[in-house]
Amino acid sequence: MEENKEAYWQENLRLIFICLAIWFVVSFGLGLLLVEPLNEFRLGGYKLGFWFAQQGSIYSFLGLIFWYGTKMNKLDKKYHAES
């Protein structure tokens, strides 16, 4: 039982770190650090770096929320932790 809890928590932490890494790459990496090279390309009439800073990062955050929810749901079922 204790081992199950530990494994559940470790997998949860893994998901959280993946989410935080994507959050950092999308917001800071694509929206700030790589903004100049990305601005060479265009998406929907906007410079790509600008688009990531303004809209792309928000879309990614929303996607992350639902991805995390789905993955955690599966994790709950796997470890019978619905309650």
Binding site: S27, G31, F61, I65, Y68, G69, M72, N73
Partner: protein, 146 residues
């Protein structure tokens, strides 16, 4: 919507706020670095006829002269602006411009009106502008065409 999705929705705004603060600090730090950017005239420059625009990306500076007062109008607020009149022997005379009502408008009395009174009169000018530690420098000729 399961409890994890709800929790993620609660946490997400805090991450967005941290991201905003981090981005703001990063940009402020970057802006503090001393950098020198060149201003380039957009076409022919004639300050007595209010037709002189200097460019650097989205940053635009309009230089004009009327009744002995030379005025600089910019698209972004400036920290300071100095105009240099450069004579034929390359001797510079500085004219620090004073703010007029807002940091978008700067002016100073200069003898440019007299120096450019006749058609085809031209004069070499240098403009140094400071914004948040960065410097914009432009060297250009103004020539009266009318």
């Amino acid at each position: 919507m399961n409890k994890h999705t709800k929790m993620a929705f609660v946490v997400a705004p805090f991450l967005a706020i941290f991201g905003f603060i981090g981005a703001d600090l990063y940009e402020e730090n970057k802006a503090d670095d001393n950098k020198i950017v060149q201003l380039v005239p957009e076409g022919h420059c004639d300050i007595t006829n209010k037709s002189c625009v200097l460019l650097s990306g989205e940053f635009k500076i309009n230089v004009s002269d009327e009744a002995g007062v030379t005025e600089v109008n910019s698209t972004f607020p400036l920290d300071s602006a100095t105009l240099f009149l450069v004579d034929k022997s390359d001797k510079m005379t500085p004219y620090p411009l004073g703010m007029k009502k807002s940091p978008y408008y700067w002016r100073s009395n200069t003898p440019l009106g007299g120096l450019l009174a006749n058609q085809v009169d031209s004069y070499k000018l240098r403009l140094i502008i400071k914004i948040k530690g960065g410097q914009y420098i432009g060297e250009f000729y103004t020539q009266t065409v009318q």
